[in-house]
Amino acid sequence: MKGFKTALAGEVYREILQIENIYFDIFYSPIKEEETSKVIGVIGMAIDVTESEKFKASLLELDKSKSEFIATASHQLRSPLANIRWGLELLQTDPLVLANPELQKQVESVHESNLKVINLVNNLLDTSRIYSNKLSNRPRKIEIIKELKDLFKNFEREKMRLDLEVLWNIPDELELKVDQNLFKVVLTNLTANAFKYNKKNGAVVVFVKEKKNFIEISIANTGKSIVKDEQAHIFEKFYRGSNVTMEFEGTGLGLYIASNYMKFLG
């Protein structure tokens, strides 16, 4: 009915219509009188697209199963990984380990790998939440500056690794009403990139400023910049810059998650 009405109003319209088990791709166009351009009827063409529609439906179904699998798998991996982390952190303080530099190095290395896997699993879980529309937005007042300072404590290791300096250009206090969990993921992913893609003796610059209708937060670094032509792609899933070398392990999911969460938060 909409197609007919739209065409009668002089516009072309296209729709997929299911009649019983058959799908039609239907085009409606106005028939116009040559001299006056008055619409005197509607002409339409229907093409049988049952095969491709069924194919599309099966792909969507597969995609859904894949997302569910990733969600379940990453969720199930989280608690054993947390257990391993806890155990390793306990080992790091064990007198036997502390007395043996070689063992200490090994434990440290396993701990680092464990953290990488935890990070990867978290990324997968965050991504699957975007896929399955399972994000929930529960805004409440948070103190951003405190949030940022706490967050940066988690990056001490990265900071030491490259001898980085963190420069704060921030007010003393600033409140924002936002979903704390989602916002934290966004800030974490941005901060992680700022630390990861940095250079020796570089800096991470945190800038927070209250504007008229919003709060500007910028987390900048002194690393290699993203190639200009590629900047439009950085929020795409699995996208990684062409100048990112093998030494930087990563999934290409961090900014994808951050931008999707921000969209979700509005």
Binding site: F4, L8, I19, I22, F24, I31, V39, I40, G41, V42, I43, G44, M45, A46, I47, D48
Partner: protein, 57 residues
């Protein structure tokens, strides 16, 4: 007596033209239809009408 050569030629051309369009429309692997402004079907053609158990009108 009247010379109808031109008249016949035009008629033949029109018939050939109609035949050509009919051939296209009737054999299209689709449904081609036209509706009047009050929503009545004034034409429905094409091989795929059979999918709906219909025949060309």
């Amino acid at each position: 007596m009247r010379d109808v050569t031109d008249e016949l030629r035009v008629k033949r051309l029109l018939a050939a033209s109609e035949q050509r369009f009919r051939l296209v429309v009737e054999n299209a692997q689709a449904i081609i239809f036209a509706l009047s402004p009050d929503g009545k079907f004034i034409l429905s053609e094409g091989k795929k009408l059979s999918l709906l158990g219909l025949k060309s009108s």
